[in-house]
Symmetry: C2
Subunit: 555 residues, 2 copies
C-alpha cells in the first residue's frame, strides 16, 4: 500500500469564485483512480471575455485521463457547481451522481444537449454511499441557499476527507435539511484527514444569519406596500422564493412567477418533493384581471441581467405587466461584485418610472448562503481535521482562511487551481503542478481562453478595425488603388476630410513609392500597408487601429 | 423686468454621477445671458464605451449660444467638474473662473492643449464676487475631499441662488477651509431662491464623519506594520495624502510619492499655499537605500486602474520598488461602483505576493467627501431656500432627495439633464426640454455617443468580424473565388474544417448560383455574401458575425 497515494487537485474554484471543479484520486502515482467533485461554470463579462457565452474549467488534464475517472459528484445545483456538467460530459464519459433536486436540474441540462436521461444518477443522503473505485462517497446534508446542498464524505484507504461544498450553518433553513452539528460530530469522530472547505465569506466577521430571519421583515415590507410589489432573488434560492410568496399571500396578494429560471426552479423543487406548501400562483395573463395592489410578482434578474424579467420590467412592459408610480421593487439579494452597474441601471430606470426600490443595504431582506468567519471556525472545531484546505474563493479568501486555520492551531494548506496535493501520510505536500485554465463556450464551440480569439475581439473594440484591399495584376503591378473599409472609427479627424479618403490617399502614395520589389512580396506589402494605415490613423484621429490587409493577385 | 427670467439647465451630472455641467441664465427667453458652472468628464468602460478615452457632456446647446455666455465657473478641481474645461474651451470661448488651487489644475490642462495661461482667471473666496453679465458670482468656501472646494453664490435680478457644488459638512477638514455654519446662515439671511444641491450620498443615513477622524486609525495601523507600507487614496484628496504621510512620518518612515497624479496634486497644493507642513519626501531612487520597514509609499490607483502605480506594484516591480511577504497595502478609499473587479484583481495579486491588504470595509480608514442625508437636512435648514433642486446624482438620488426636501416641508424639484427650469416668480416650472447627451473623446477626436462608432466596436467584440473580398471582371463575372478573413472567431466549428475554408466554400457556391443579374448588382452581391457568411457561421460555430464585404470591379 505504501506506493499508493491520496491526491486532491482543484481545476477550478480555488483562486476564483465560480467554475468549481475538484479532483480526488487514489492509487499509484500517475495511475490514481479519480473522482470529480462539481463541474461548474463562470460567467463572462465585456471586460475580459466579450461575446463569450459561458466560461468552463479547462479539463484537458482530466480528459487525457478519462479512463481513470470513476464518477462525477455534484454537491448542489448552483450553476458554478453544475453548469458545465453537460458541456464536459462527452470529454469525461463518467457517470454523474447527485441528490434528487440537483439531479433534476442536471438532467434538464443533459436533455438540452441530447444526452440520455440516465447520464445522471440520483442517490440518497448519508448514510447512503456510492462506491467509486477505491472511494466511497456519501452526500451529507448541509444548509446553503439551494435545496439539498450537500457536503461529501469521501472515504479512501488513506482515510476520510470531507469536502464541504458551499455551505452555511443554518439550523432553520426553511427548505431543505438544517445543519446538524450532532451528525457532523458523529461523522468526524473517527478522525478526518482533511476538510476541504468553502472560503468565500472568510472576511465576514459576524456569525451568519438564518434564512428564517428574513421572513418577518419581508412580510412587514410587503404588507406596508400600496401598489404592486415585485421582488427578485436568485431563482435557485427556493426557500427565499417561498418566503417571498408567503409574504405576498399573507398580504392578500396573488403570486405571479416571471422569468424562465424562476419557474424552472420552483418546478424542480416541487417535482422532487423538497418544496411543499408553496402558495398558489397565477399566470401573467390571469394577473391582468387582478388589481395591482393585490399582486406580487416574483421575478428573475437580481443581478441586473439585461434579458431577465427585472430588467425588462425596468425598461417597460413584460408579459403584459408594467410598473408605475407607487409600486415597490424589492431586491431580496446581494449584488455580486462586477454586477453593480447593471443593478444600478435598473434601479434608476425604476426611479424614472416612480417605482420605489428597496435593496439589501439595510441587511433586512437578504442573508448570505455562505459560512462567515465564526461559522468556519465552528465547523472546523466540530470536525477537527488534520488539515484544512480552503477552496471556492479568490486567492485573498484562501490565504485568509489558511491564516484563520493556523491561528486556531490547525494546519492550513493553500492550494490554488492546478496544485496537486498529496494527502497521504502525516504531512500534506505539493505533488505536482498541473496546467489549468479556462475554456470559453462561444456560440456552440469551445475555445481556449488563450487562443487569441477573444484578444482579437478586445483589440477591435478598443482600436477599431480597418480593412485594406489591393489588387495586383498578373505582372505584379497594382491594379487600381488600395481600398479601405473602416469599422468602429471616427469618420473624420484632424484634416476634416473623411478618414477613409485620407487613408486611401496615403496608401496609394505608399504603394506607388513601394516599387516592384515590394509589389512582388505579399508579406512586405501587407506589413507596409498595415503600417501606413496605423501611421495615418494616428495622425488623423490619434488611434492605431487593428488592420487586416487582403492583397489579391490576378496572376 | 417681467419679461425676463432666471433659468437653470443641467447639461450633465443630473441623472448620473460624473460629467457635471450646469447652466444658469438671466434675460428674455432665448436671449438669456448665460453662465456655466463646472465642465467635467465621466470615465468610459468596456461595457458601454470601449476604446473611448473620456466622456464629455454634449455642449451643442451651449456652443450654439456661445455669444450669450459670460463665463464658466469651476467649483473644484475633481475631474468630473473640471476635466472637460480644456476640451470645450474652443467651443465655448468664455473666460474660466476658479480659486487658486482649482485654477492651478485647470491651467495645467489648458497648457497641455496649447491654450494661453490667462484662459483661467483666479479669483478669491467670498465676499469677493465676479460680475458676469447680469450675475454676480461668489465662491463660498465649502468642505469636500479636495482643497478649496466652493459653493457658488449666484446673485441675479431675480434673487440669490446657491449652487453647492460637491460638499460635506466638515468642521475639521485638515486641509482647506472648514464648513462654517455661521457664514452660511449669514449669506442665506436675506432669502435664497433655490439651493441647487449635491445628492450623491442621500441614501447614507448617518451624519458624515470628519476627515480628522481617520488620522488616528491610520497612524495606529502604520505603526503596527512590520514591512513596507503602501497606501493609496484619491490623489486629489490632499488632506488624506497629508494624513497618510504624517502617519508614515510618525512611524519613522520615509515618504515616497508614486504616480503622476499623486505628485501633480501635492505640487499644486504646495504651489498655491493650501498645503503646508507636508513631511519631506524621498524619490523612488533614494528609497532603494532605505530599509523597507522604514518606507511608506503613497501611490495612485485606488480604483484598481491598470496603469496606475498600485496595479503596477501588484503585477511586480514599479520604479524599482517591489512588494513582498509581510508588507502592507492600505486602500484609504472607497471603490466606486463599476471598479470592483479591478480593485479585487489587485487585492488578489497582492495576496499572491503575500502582502496583507487592508481596505475600508471596517470604515476606519476612509470617510466620504459628500454630505449624507442628515447633513443635507442640516444645510437645507440653515439656508431655508424656497426650493431645493437636487443635482449631481443618478435619478434615484435626485428622486430621493426631492422626497427628502418634501418631507421636510420644502419644495423639491426633480430636474434631470436637459430640463430647463424657470426659477422666476414664486413657483419653479419646466420651461423647455433641451437635447443633451454625451460626447466621446476618442483618441484625439470628439465623436457623438450615438454616432454608431462605439456601437460597431461593441458588435465586433461580441460577434467577431468577417471580411469578404470578391473580384468581378470587366464582364461582371466573378474572377476567382470569394476570399475570407476572420477576426475574433473560433478557428473551427461543427464540421471540424477550418471556418475560413467552410465559409469560402459556401460563398463560392452562393456566388456561382447567384447568376448574372446579381453579379451586376453591388448591393445584392453585398447583401447575399453577408447573409451567406452569417448563415454558415451560425451553422458552424453558433454565432452571427459582423460582416464587411468588398466587391472590386475591374471594369
Amino acid at each position: 500500500m505504501s506506493n499508493e497515494r491520496l491526491i486532491y487537485l482543484p481545476l477550478g474554484g480555488a483562486g476564483e469564485i465560480g467554475m468549481n471543479a475538484y479532483v480526488y484520486g487514489y492509487g499509484r502515482p500517475g495511475k490514481e483512480r479519480l473522482i470529480v467533485v462539481d463541474m461548474g461554470v463562470a460567467f463572462p463579462d465585456m471586460d475580459g471575455s466579450p461575446g463569450v457565452d459561458l466560461i468552463l474549467p479547462d479539463i484537458a488534464w482530466l480528459a487525457e485521463r478519462r479512463h481513470q475517472i470513476e464518477a462525477v459528484f455534484i454537491t448542489h445545483a448552483h450553476e458554478d457547481h453544475v453548469g458545465a456538467v453537460a458541456h464536459t460530459y462527452e470529454a469525461l464519459q463518467a457517470p454523474v451522481y447527485a441528490r434528487a433536486f440537483t439531479s433534476n436540474i442536471a438532467r434538464r441540462k443533459m436533455q438540452e444537449h441530447g444526452y440520455p436521461e440516465n447520464a445522471i444518477r440520483t442517490v440518497g443522503a448519508w448514510p447512503e454511499v456510492t462506491t467509486a473505485g477505491p472511494f466511497k462517497v456519501g452526500f451529507l446534508p448541509m444548509s446553503h441557499s439551494i435545496p439539498e446542498s450537500s457536503s461529501l464524505i469521501i472515504d479512501s484507504p488513506e482515510g476520510r476527507v470531507i469536502h464541504t461544498g458551499d455551505f452555511k450553518l443554518d439550523e432553520t433553513p426553511l427548505v431543505g435539511e438544517p445543519f446538524d452539528p450532532d451528525l457532523w460530530a458523529e461523522v468526524s469522530r473517527d478522525g478526518v484527514k482533511a476538510l476541504i472547505c468553502d472560503s468565500t465569506n472568510v472576511f465576514s466577521p459576524d456569525p451568519g444569519r438564518s434564512e428564517a430571519s428574513v421572513g418577518p421583515e419581508i412580510t412587514k415590507l410587503v404588507k406596508s406596500a400600496k401598489g404592486m410589489v415585485v421582488a427578485t432573488t436568485f431563482a435557485s434560492n427556493v426557500a427565499r422564493v417561498k418566503t417571498l410568496a408567503e409574504a405576498g399571500e399573507a398580504a392578500g396578494r396573488s403570486i405571479v412567477l416571471m422569468g424562465r429560471a424562476m419557474k424552472r426552479m420552483v418546478e424542480a423543487a416541487v417535482e422532487t418533493g423538497v418544496l411543499t406548501g408553496f402558495p398558489p400562483v397565477v399566470s401573467p395573463e390571469a394577473a391582468q384581471d387582478i388589481q395591482r395592489e393585490n399582486l406580487m410578482l416574483l421575478v428573475t434578474g437580481s443581478q441586473g441581467e439585461r434579458r431577465a424579467a427585472s430588467a425588462q420590467l425596468a425598461r417597460g412592459k413584460y408579459q403584459g405587466m408594467q410598473l408605475k408610480e407607487g409600486d415597490l421593487f424589492l431586491f431580496s439579494s446581494k449584488t455580486i461584485p462586477g454586477n453593480e452597474k447593471g443593478v444600478i441601471r435598473i434601479i434608476n430606470q425604476f426611479s424614472e418610472l416612480g417605482v420605489d426600490v428597496v435593496d439589501d443595504s439595510t441587511g433586512r431582506y437578504h442573508v448570505s448562503g455562505h459560512a462567515n468567519r465564526p461559522d468556519l471556525e465552528r465547523l472546523t472545531a466540530i470536525v477537527k481535521p488534520q488539515v484544512v484546505i480552503p477552496m471556492h474563493g479568490e486567492h485573498r479568501h484562501l490565504r485568509e482562511h489558511v491564516k484563520l486555520a493556523d491561528a486556531n492551531g490547525m494546519t492550513g494548506v493553500l492550494a490554488v487551481n492546478g496544485m496537486m496535493i498529496d494527502l497521504s501520510g502525516n504531512q500534506p505536500k505539493v505533488a505536482e503542478y498541473v496546467e489549468t485554465g479556462r475554456t470559453y463556450l462561444d456560440g456552440t464551440v469551445q475555445i481556449g481562453a488563450l487562443d487569441g480569439v477573444v484578444r482579437d475581439r478586445i483589440r477591435m473594440a478598443l482600436n477599431g478595425h480597418v480593412l485594406v484591399t489591393l489588387i495586383m495584376d498578373d505582372e505584379d503591378q497594382p491594379l487600381g488603388e488600395p481600398w479601405c473599409e473602416v469599422m468602429g472609427l471616427a469618420e473624420t479627424g484632424r484634416s476634416r476630410a473623411p478618414l477613409v479618403d485620407v487613408l486611401e490617399e496615403d496608401l496609394s502614395q505608399w504603394v506607388n513609392r513601394a516599387g516592384r520589389k515590394i509589389w512582388r512580396d505579399d508579406e512586405k506589402l501587407n506589413e507596409g500597408l498595415r503600417r501606413a494605415v496605423r501611421q495615418t490613423a494616428q495622425d488623423e484621429i490619434g488611434k492605431k487601429p487593428e488592420v487586416t490587409v487582403v492583397v489579391s493577385r490576378l496572376s
